[in-house]
Symmetry: D2
């Protein structure tokens, strides 16, 4: 049986490169076409020596494929995706262009009207742990933001159990690769190295995704999220600390710590890529993998729920979650090609 042919639009950014790495190793599909504006005409291995064994030339436009990943930036991806959908292709969009259900939010957060609002209801938000069934039927999957994936997975069990109040704080720490490969002073080595800072204090565009998705599973009120991202001096990895007040009456039993842990363990059950862990996790243990580690606990003094989650922002936070979505869309076993442990140390 011939393998499904897949392609990557804009392979030269960090998400595109990482998609190429995963897809090359994937036994169920064949990576047959990659595009990139400035690099068109060059062999992939000339630009990225570690990909030298992938015998592909970067093209100006996508060749014949059955499924395409768009790794174009926000605001530019929709224009690439729409014609592919019209041709009947399955598409996984790595940008934010199809993640929000409410078209009005695009004006607020991305500064422009959405070019195809009718597609927003067709697009499925690609966290398989939440939307596995819809992804199976989807033609278009909107792959979630890196921060959003970590925060949503950390908050979904508590929200679904209705045990938390409306006000939530998400304090996230991210490696620099999330800022992309485009040159900017904030990603200039000497400005980032040996530094930590908060940014987007006035509001970050991945926050509405969190509100939308946590709101969807919530059996309590629609969440109100204060989200503060930080940049820390490392390549990859996001760790988020989520804080919320427990509604004691909603928590069964006497030992709230234990009850919370049970809620989380039950929620994720046998999920292959989300692990509820016993000790506060390290991003290092997710490097290069599709894993998300989650540690829920109750502050013994203040009674607040603290949930710490971590993942690789280019892994479960982007490329490998895209591959997981692809597996679901193609009816392949969900873990196909995704079982490699992280790289340590």
């Amino acid at each position: 049986m011939s393998k499904t042919r897949v392609g990557i639009i804009n392979v030269t950014g960090y998400v595109g490169i990482e998609l190429a790495r995963w897809l090359y190793q994937h036994p169920g599909v064949e990576l047959v076409s990659v595009t990139g504006r400035s690099a068109a005409g060059r062999k992939l291995g000339q630009i990225f020596p570690h990909l030298a064994n992938i015998d592909l030339t970067v093209e100006a436009s996508l060749g014949a494929v059955d499924l395409a990943f768009s790794a174009m930036p926000h605001g530019e991806s929709a224009a690439e995706v729409i014609p592919l959908l019209d041709c009947g292709l399955k598409v996984i969009d790595m940008s934010g262009d199809f993640r929000l259900k409410d078209a009005g939010e695009y004006q607020v957060w991305y500064g422009h009207a959405h070019p195809a609002p009718h597609l927003l209801s067709k697009a499925v938000y690609g966290i398989p742990e939440l939307h596995r069934k819809e992804i199976r039927e989807a033609q278009l999957v909107a792959n979630p933001g890196c921060y959003s994936t970590g925060a949503i997975l950390a908050l979904a069990p508590a929200a679904a159990a209705g045990i938390i109040e409306q006000d939530i704080i998400v304090d996230s720490k991210s490696g620099v690769s999330g800022a992309g490969r485009t040159l900017k002073l904030q990603s200039h080595f000497c400005e980032v190295d040996e530094d930590v800072c908060a940014y987007a204090v006035e509001g970050h565009r991945l926050m509405p995704e969190m509100v939308q998705e946590v709101g969807l599973v919530s059996r309590g009120p629609t969440p109100r999220i204060t989200f503060l991202p930080h940049l820390i001096p490392m390549n990859r990895g996001i760790l988020s600390a989520c804080y919320a007040n427990i509604i004691p009456a909603k928590l069964p039993g006497k030992n709230s710590q234990e009850a919370v842990r049970k809620i989380y363990a039950d929620y994720f059950g046998n999920e292959p890529f989300v692990k509820v862990v016993d000790v506060p996790p390290h991003t290092k243990y997710t490097l290069g993998s599709n894993f998300c580690l989650i540690y829920p606990t109750i502050d013994p003094r203040t009674g607040k729920l603290i949930v710490i989650s971590c993942l690789d922002n280019l892994g479960k936070g982007a490329a490998s979650q895209g591959v997981q979505n692809m597996n679901v869309m193609l009816g392949l076993p969900e873990t196909t090609g995704l079982n490699s442990p992280g790289l340590f140390p």
Copy 2:
């Protein structure tokens, strides 16, 4: 006029080394004696080549000084400090041994009864911006913890203005030097590099200092603080994000953003080392200096107060704050020897 003679107990840890750097450059005092257990008998410059110009031999016990810094670890410092006090020396204790007013807290947080509870009321908590007057008269100053300094300075103006509710979250990110020079797996290069993790989730011993000090200045309720420290891959620097609910009725005027900024600007007025800044600050801008940068703001969507503070954990978070305290104790101009800008980049 002869200069005041000062000494450092346990010069070989990171705080001791940094004290030596500051005191050597200080025009008003003379560093005349340094001690260190394992290094006794060696020239300071043999152990630390960058201190080669300080012509001192590490001693087993302190020579004749007028004022001593103890850079011993928590739990071991009191035993060094008590005899010095009996001899009438002025002492600045860099450890936690005299920071808490309630002796009972030592059992809870440090795991042992306090050896000299009667000294706790005499010791002054050494944040000059809060306790300048008492420090001037003190024989014993308890130099604050690194996390505590940043959090207390970030929260004091809001607490003193009575504009925040009781529940406060302090989410801090620290460089590794705060964990000291003692070997441990958590400070082993390959375990920390390219990693971020939360720790002491069950409770950190610097939290009660925050509650004590913010409580002292508070015109609202005694604060209840959820404190979560994180380790990030850099040498120096702490950035803290503090979250609290505003009590709207207490905030004057219509523009809460502006009102909050005015409260902070007024509180710190002409403080030489605490700067209220207009953009979210970077730890990098405090490296090697005695500065603390503070950015207060209101989340425009949730209305929560967010205060971001940063400092060098070995600077304003330890050694140079110790020198600032010394200046106050000795009646020297408070900025003496402390005016050097940070090192950038």
Copy 3:
């Protein structure tokens, strides 16, 4: 057909952990037993969350296997390896205990007599690109040192072509994981971060391996190598710059640059893991892979040969080269389980 059963002695060091990662993903063998002194009795995933999918308990001694990797430290490995050889097992020793042919060298470089000098002639030095044929027949393979692998691969083509003089300089820069997981001040985060230093200036024990192996392929004089290793602030990767004088009469043609590149390209021909590249390589392009990148050139002003090589010290410099050796020993296609590209960025 049942898979070959393999085991790892001392899985808890960085080489052992990395072996577990590669072997778990290997389609031709089954990892069935792992040992570790302090961690015995614990599940692998409890100690290393990223290995949670490997369902093995760390044992005090090795279970039934067909082939064993010893990841014990130098000086302790031989004692583990010898009994396994007596039982007829195939063994790949990751330490230096069987790398040198001349037993006398162990006294000089390792400070003790070799416990089983008769085995030194039976052990095969495990660089498949040089000793493929002997490895195929070997019961015991001595897996090369990390620095040695990079330097030997960089120098072998020039030495084999007889184009260089005797005196060679190898200046190497290594990430910190090569220093192991044992706590020491030189691996303490704050001592290494933002630092570079040379060490073992008086002589490093991996140098005699280089002399032995480059000498074996040399058609010119026995090499005399000045080797200077440096520690740089990163986890993984070694880059070596090798300098030697060209013997002009031995270099064919007029364009020495071109002639040298042809010698290197011909030497490595279709080697799957050693790539002769057109631009100076980055260690980053080998992260987590079995690749070694080599860039030979002639300094246009001094006429000196400069060869720059790089690899992942835990990859081709240790664990994945061990797996490559295993493939050869077991008669499997040499690239089995080793094709994954490196992780970038």
Copy 4:
């Protein structure tokens, strides 16, 4: 007595920022004017919060000063410097525009004819340890390159003693700040972090400075230098390993190790900023200081001379050496304002 007024042209690069830090703290001069193209009109402290106490506005052109530092890039600095010289100002040029004596070299290494060849003989190469006397009389000092300073100081004693052969290898490892603040992919965080690479393999423009200066002091042949710079993931610091063959007949006594150390100790005698050390030095011990540490040794097996030197590329490798030159030019004690120890860790 009024202080000498000094100014900085192009304060917004890393060298300019560091000059501002040193000059602000200098007791003998007053920093009165700073320029910068894009930042003109803004307060220094708005751009660089750590310089907030320097009450200066960035100007489009230099105000009235007695001595100016030009921190303009190579190729653009001469045009700024020449008019100042015509006005009779003393100038310290931080760029390469006046370092080479042979005007023809500018065509070779900088790709353009020199705009004012007649000034090359008037400019003094600003290493005070070599040219103190000429600097005292100079109107124009060409401040040396960062790599050049480390290599020249490492090689001068051996060359001056005539103990080394002509062929020299300089293998240098540098932090990223040497590449400047201008955005480029090679300084993009994720491309540099966890990476090491060699660059300028075909020839680096700081090499001819080394040949010129080592040649000037040499009592043996004009040196022929193979120079290979490397970029390593840290902000500041350069460590160079220099290799040369000893001419045994020129080395007095029987113990070559001791003889070499004596040559170095005698050469630098009481130099305040160059320290001959007993153990291989770390760049970390020079961070933020004007120190250069030098470790000469003989490889016991190959008899080669190895000299390891290190410094802060923005300190003794740029800004603080500029201040040292200024002190000499102004007749101030040479160590004025330069005595602060480095920052550790």
